[in-house]
Amino acid sequence: MNAPADIVRRKPRAISQEAIVFALTAIIFAIFALLLPSFLTGGNLLALVQNVSILGVLGVAMAMAIIGRGIDLSIVATMAVSVAWVLQLTNHGMALEPAILLGFGLALAIGLVNGILVAYVEIPAIFATLAMGTAAYGCVRSLLLEDNLVYLKAAGDTWFKWIGSGAVLGVPNPVLLFAAVALVGEVLLRVTTQGRFLYAMGDNPSAARITGVPMRPLIVLQYVSCAAIAFVAGVIMATSVDSMETRVARSNLVYDVILVVVIGGVGLSGGKGTVRNVVVGTLLIGVLLNGMTIMNVPYTLQNIVKSLVLLAAIVIDSLVNPRDEQTSQQGDI
């Protein structure tokens, strides 16, 4: 006789979306390696990861939000304004360390407001963070920042500059930081109680609440963590290009971030996915962009190829794993 657990166990998915995307990445990787002599060199492969490391770091934050059945559309704005403020404070003569603390505090404050709006005011995350992104950008830009573009000047010769532009044993720091953030994210999600609760909350909020998961504080923690990771991404960005252009808050970077998260297999309905999915999604984009840049594919064609490959990944997934009543349920978004 079957044990009850066996009876209710769902038929395992034949091949997961993550595996499909990973296979697709491997195929494209192999093609580039065969066709492009300069592709398969250590330097280029590091550059490949380096170029998508900011996307990846933001992806880890976004994954945390989405796994907990939320979303954070203010992530790019948080990153831009908090770090731009740090640069401006140092350019005006403030010492580096207090400036970083202030900027980090600003990022956390934005995350805190997000969390309170979602958890206590009970605004759906998509609206709360959408509005908060615009509000944070607008307020900080008009009240604190003098310019859209802030250069890394005063802190340009300090250890701060090394964060995004240095290297350890030949590996560029952004790659290491991406790895570190991914690792910390994975540990937070898999090992800590809060991380497990996040999955519970994302999978079935009502059940989680009934079983005693402290939902509201957990949601606040979720958005504050997102903002903290966004700040790290911002520091990498600013120190690798010597400036922070706050206009990035108005760009479509946030969609790219959602894309690498979802394409890697983190379910938008919440409760599903790991940091590994984000890494796989990020690598696919990285390999595509890198190869096409080496081939000097025109910009508009690059966008077409990129979207077609992503579409292909989704189509293959829906053919291999047809939707049913269980899997087609969506979360708040």
């Binding site: 250069y151 010597d242 000097n296």
Partner: protein, 342 residues
């Protein structure tokens, strides 16, 4: 009694009127000064930039604000903050408000063409700033993008061409493809290089004016072409990303970077001084601010009979800045322009 009151009121009004323009109180009429000031007073000027908050638009606005105060015209600035839609809405709204001069900074060649024509058709004179649109309006102030890119390419040819001992491989970093900087720039680069077969473009990419994207592309291009001689960039704000990639590869000074922009101190001269940029073609936004002040003054004093019929070209004189020509004063700072005027 009534008469005395009227007289008193009249005297008070006169005193108030004289008091309000103290600067010109004592100036004799030279036949133009009063007339021109009267023509500008109380008029309405509107400015729709791509966005406020960056060096170019802030410098132009500083100039206009100065004149608005000096001549008593009303200045309205509508900031669409990089949104083409919001800009179009702002312009439509302004056309309905019927200003005396409309200053437009078009984000791309086509976007506002119809609106500029519409404003002209309604009798509103239009000044277009820096980025050339398909409709010219009445005055076009800005860099000649073709000429600018020719200068950039010639600078590159000097650095990487015959006799330089370099590979001759160069890369081009465009901004937004629909922008005249890219549209006319790439044509100029290709046309100029026809006479220099030793130079080869190994990479021609676009980075959407985003330093971070430019950094990623430049990093890859440098790895794929270890003997690359130089980059042509199309805007300083974006090109700092290329400079960072060159520095990261440890090849500052060996891989050249020819950039361009509005010539503010932090973006242009500082980057030339510290070796980030090799050569910089400046369209001196401070000078453009003054050109804009004069264009608006001119249109306020003498409104064209049929706006838009005879556009006047005021292409900005270009300045080449490199290590040798980086004299004090080659660049400007926004603080100074705001404090002391363009």
């Amino acid at each position: 009694m009534n008469k005395a009151l009227t007289l008193l009121a009249g005297a008070l009004a006169l005193a108030a009127a004289m008091g309000s323009t103290p600067s010109r109180a004592g100036q004799p009429d030279d036949g133009l000064v009063n007339e021109s000031a009267a023509a500008m007073k109380g008029k309405k000027v509107a400015f729709v930039p791509i966005a406020m908050g960056f060096d170019l638009t802030e410098a132009w606005a500083a100039g206009l604000k100065l004149d608005a105060q000096a001549f008593g015209y009303d200045l309205a600035i509508r900031d669409p903050n990089w949104s083409v839609d919001a800009g179009a809405q702002a312009i439509s709204q302004l056309i309905a408000e019927n200003p005396d001069v409309l200053v437009i900074h078009p984000p791309e060649i086509q976007a506002y063409t119809r609106l500029i024509q519409q404003a002209n058709a309604q009798g509103i004179p239009v000044v277009t700033m820096n980025l050339k649109a398909d409709a010219n309006g009445d005055m076009v102030i800005g860099a000649n993008w073709y000429d600018l890119a020719v200068r950039q390419t010639n600078a590159m040819v000097k650095l990487c061409g015959a006799g330089s001992g370099k590979s001759g491989k160069i890369a081009v970093m465009q901004g937004v493809l629909t922008n005249p900087t890219s549209q006319y720039g790439i044509q100029a680069i290709e046309a100029t290089l026809k006479d220099h077969p030793e130079i080869k473009i190994v990479s021609n990419q676009a980075a959407d004016w985003d330093a971070s994207k430019a950094h990623a592309i430049a990093g890859t291009v440098l790895k794929a072409n270890p003997d690359l001689c130089g980059f042509i960039g199309m805007w300083d704000n974006m090109d700092v990303g290329i400079a960072a990639a060159i520095k990261e590869a440890g090849r500052t000074g060996q891989v050249y970077l020819v950039s361009s922009g509005g010539g503010n101190q932090a973006s242009a001269c500082d980057n030339i001084a510290n070796g980030n940029f090799t050569t910089y073609i400046s369209y001196d936004a401070k000078g453009q601010a003054r050109d804009l002040m004069m264009a608006v003054r001119s249109l306020l004093q003498s409104k064209p009979a049929q706006p838009g019929e005879h556009p006047v070209a005021l292409y900005t004189p270009l300045k080449t800045i490199d290590k040798d020509s980086n004299y004090p004063g080659a660049c400007w700072t926004l603080d100074d322009v705001r404090k002391y005027g363009p």
